[in-house]
Symmetry: C2
Subunit: 362 residues, 2 copies
């Protein structure tokens, strides 16, 4: 087993090592965090910015926050959201004040979802889904962007600290709507610090890095304000079942979103790209090429919690003792169990949205 | 007397005729408006956009609005603000719903004035000053930008309708802070139409045209929303007492702001550039060159209400019957009277800010 940042390997490792260099991230060091979660243990979490600051808060029991946003468009979430929640939950379980903002202003601006509709979708789907995925509703504060005047007011202030060129450098484009959303995100990310400065960590996939980078730039320009630059923790994308780096709705047969029926998910798993050999003999002799196997990746990232169990699957599959059809069947079973469990928890969570802890604004 | 758009002439006329062409304005036609005010009668109001729409509302007693904003920075206002108020008052007296917004978000973002400070300044100075200049507080609705969530929410929506290139074309630059302010102004300008679409008129100096132009562009792109493109009414700048096109605080000795002491104002008037001749004899023989006379311009724009009186001054001064020293003395007297009157009305207005009609938000 290669000792890369990804202990189980994947052809996509190289891309993430490039990202670490391109973005100027630190390679994630799981030994800094007590009881690392599945994603941390297995190199799915691959990088960070200023994570030592967060590790110190955990170690010394100091206040810090973990924050993420929900864009209330559509009525499904993807496996990347699942990873965000799992990392949020890790920090929540390790002393972080946890804040979830509903980006209803952005959903309205960018996708034409009315604020009323955004609110309804968040309450009826996105928030219950996040709770179903593990977020503790009793330890989480929620707010709607459109309610949070402080965030909006600060967005105006922060907008003065970014030049158009910086903006273009970070985002690639700089349309006015994009700019409005981005400066609001800066304010969202710093919101838990308005009252009292403290470290905070934002779990993201690589595509969300611009927000963290821009926020850190703005903090750097407002030194006398004393904001703590937000830390970022970066997880890999769940690869598309056809082998592309990221699952995407543009290829629906290679993409599993939540909610979905076990039948549909299993159908997609059946068609997934594996590292199985061309013939049964070759497979039995050489074993599967795990690095190219999207089904193993799915088990590793999402479906097998126990490390020993995953290790056994790895051994059997890479040694030729297990066939591609078998690992697909296993993944289908595990996925079915996960989906049923998600469905149950989701229905339960939906019934408790009246009791959520929304930040109160005057 | 030359029959230009400015019946009393001024060397600066040509600049405004160029502006009309450059901006694509209509030359202002005072005959469309009943009982035109001093600025309208004298060509100080020189142009408009879609003013026929407003004239029709007045004629047919249909609902429309007049709107302006106050940026609560500093504790003085300039004579350009005075002209804005006079035009607002004209429309207020002719059936317009009148709205004044306090741009506290912009003052915070662009000038670092905290929202609390901006609110205080607006209530203690800017609003009473506007009332002292003629705005009827009982017929005016006020709001603070920072209170008006609807405006902010719509700003996000409108930001999606402007491209960076349009923005640059209209404003020359496109810094994120400028963009935030500008899209908020679009929402401010359209705010009275959120509930019910209707024409509206914004009195401005030429430098405020970009806001009107951009708002009209956005309205044009949202045809199915049915907003009525806002009309603009354009007044000339009060020229700097040294002869430049615009009074500016960068030349304090040529700039009269409110409040000021009569002594200080008269001292500045004494030093003003006039159209007087080099010698007493020449002056008596040829009369003053009114077109170059900043003191006459001050009387015309601000200090002499009665047209016959102004006409008499014009005749005497241009015929050589009146000397530059005399017109300065006259201007000093009139200015003193105006300033005393302003001071009195201001103090009275300050005592009534508790009774102002602020828009209520949930």
């Amino acid at each position: 087993m290669a000792k890369t940042i990804d202990p189980y390997g994947s052809k996509l490792v190289e891309d993430y090592q490039n990202l670490i260099e391109d973005f100027g991230l630190d390679t994630f060091d799981k030994s800094s965090f007590p009881n690392p979660n599945r994603l941390m243990r297995r190199g799915v979490v691959f990088g960070g910015r200023d994570l030592k600051r967060i590790a110190d808060c955990i170690k010394n029991d100091k206040p810090y926050y973990a924050l993420s946003g929900i864009m209330p468009t559509g009525d499904e979430i993807h496996l990347g959201n699942k990873m965000v929640v799992e990392n949020l939950k890790y920090f929540q379980d390790h002393g972080a004040e946890t804040i979830i903002l509903i980006a209803d202003l952005e959903a309205q601006a960018a996708r034409g979802v009315s604020l009323e509709e955004g609110r309804k979708r968040a309450l009826n789907f996105h928030i219950p889904a996040y709770i179903a995925l593990g977020l503790d509703p009793e330890k989480t504060k929620f707010y709607f962007q459109s309610d949070n005047k402080e965030v909006i007011h600060k967005a105006y202030e922060f907008s003065q600290k970014v030049t158009l060129n910086e903006f273009k450098a970070v985002y690639g484009n700089a349309d006015p709507g994009r700019i409005m959303s981005a400066v609001t995100q800066i304010a969202d990310i710093l919101y838990p610090q308005f009252e009292e400065r403290m470290p905070g960590v934002i779990p993201v996939g690589p595509d969300q890095d611009p927000h963290i980078r821009l926020t850190r730039d703005v903090v750097g320009k407002m030194k006398k304000e004393g904001y703590v630059p937000p830390s970022g923790i970066y997880h890999k994308y769940t690869p598309s079942l056809d082998g592309d780096i990221k699952m995407s709705k543009s290829k629906p047969m290679s993409c599993i979103t939540l909610p979905t029926s076990p039948e549909e998910a299993c159908e997609k798993i059946k068609r997934a790209v594996t590292g199985g050999r061309d013939t049964l003999e070759e497979q039995k002799e050489k074993g599967a090429v795990i690095e190219e196997d999207m089904v193993f990746e799915l088990l590793k990232q999402h479906l097998v919690e126990d490390d020993d169990e995953l290790e056994r699957i790895y051994e059997r599959y890479s040694s030729g003792d297990m066939l591609s059809g078998e690992i697909k069947e296993l993944a289908c079973e595990k996925m079915t169990e996960f989906l049923k469990n998600f469905e149950e928890r989701f229905e339960k969570a939906k019934r408790m949205t009246d009791d959520l802890d929304f930040v109160e604004f005057e």
